[in-house]
């Protein structure tokens, strides 16, 4: 009976892994498609602005990140990633920060903690009036960064399934 249970469990883990593989592949395809759209838009922008007008020569000497990734450990020990963009607010942060009555004159404002300092749009590195294709490229890569977490979370999940599967297999051989 124990052998039958073991086989059933191994089959279940294998099916889970194959399911994860399929899910990872579909997320990969979406991720790659988005980055390819971004490259195409960059090429169009380069065609419109000049070959040397969209590249490292235009990078700012000072940059502030507008995106960060928050990592945490789930209850099952797996790493979780959350990509956060500047200006994004969690629902708990919306609303008045103090319970005190507001005064009519000169409302005292408590400086709100910000995830990021106000950073200029990277589009400004390339000029004041940039072609629409460059804005499209930016949108593609912004969306790409937000999708990263979906792919990254698959890796520890699959590694955990893999380790458990091999552990069971080796222990009962």
């Amino acid at each position: 009976m124990a052998a039958a249970d073991l086989r059933a469990e191994l089959d279940s883990l294998l099916l889970q892994l194959l399911w994860d593989l399929e899910e990872l592949e579909s997320k990969r395809v979406a991720l790659n498609a988005r980055v390819e759209e971004g490259w195409l838009s960059l090429s169009k922008a380069r065609y419109a602005m000049g070959a040397k007008s969209v590249g490292p020569l235009q990078y700012a000497s000072r940059m502030e990140p507008q995106v960060c990734v928050c990592t945490s450990e789930a209850q099952n020990g797996l790493q979780k990633f959350r990509v956060v963009r500047a200006g994004a607010q969690s629902p708990e942060e919306v609303g008045p920060r103090e319970a005190a009555l507001r005064r009519r004159k000169g409302l005292t404002r408590i400086p709100e903690p910000e995830v990021f300092s106000a950073s200029p749009n990277p589009l400004n590195w390339f000029g004041i009036l940039v072609p629409h294709s460059l804005r499209q490229a930016q949108a593609s890569f912004q969306e790409e960064t937000l999708k990263l977490q979906m792919v990254l979370e698959m890796k520890p999940q699959m590694e955990a399934t893999d380790s458990f599967f091999l552990g069971l297999l080796v222990a009962h051989l």
Binding site: L14, L21, R28, V35, Q79, V84, L123, L134
Partner: protein
């Protein structure tokens, strides 16, 4: 940086790095090292490897000396490539064809943070067979893993 999330670093060709910087991941000021590396035709494998290892090792708070990185020419050209003492990087994006150049360094990186994600490049389409995640999963179906 207290209370802030971690950065996304990128090692890639010009288009990849420019795109992600447009997306807002870049960090660079007079006191800090850049979190990106543009790999060009004259970029050496050692430089890529040193940058990756520094990003990966120092992000876990380890202080690791890089004995190979004392080339004066490299230091003069790229003084900020050491990424020393960086513990603020959560994800490293790297073009797959560049990852192949430093595959041994990637395989040696076992920690979950920073996470390494291989992405295609404009001139080298994505090859699932070379992806580190899928290679590991594929290994489940070979007899070598049972030894």
């Amino acid at each position: 940086m207290a209370g802030r999330g971690k950065l996304i670093a990128v090692i890639g060709d010009e288009d990849t790095v420019t795109g992600f910087l447009l997306g807002g991941i870049g960090e660079l000021n007079k006191n800090r090292h850049p979190n990106f590396l543009v790999v060009e035709k004259d970029t050496t494998v050692n430089e890529i490897e040193d940058t990756f290892r520094a990003l990966g090792a120092f992000s876990a708070g380890e202080a690791e000396a890089s004995p190979d990185h004392h080339d004066p020419q490299l230091l003069n050209e790229t003084p900020n490539r050491q990424f020393l003492n960086r513990d603020d990087i959560g994800i490293i994006l790297i073009n797959q064809y560049i990852a192949e150049m430093v595959r041994h360094a990637l395989d040696a990186h076992q920690r979950s943070i920073p996470a390494v994600l291989e992405i295609p490049s404009k001139e080298h389409p994505y090859d699932a067979a070379k992806d580190s995640i899928l290679r590991r999963a594929r290994g489940m179906f070979t007899a070598e893993d049972l030894r």
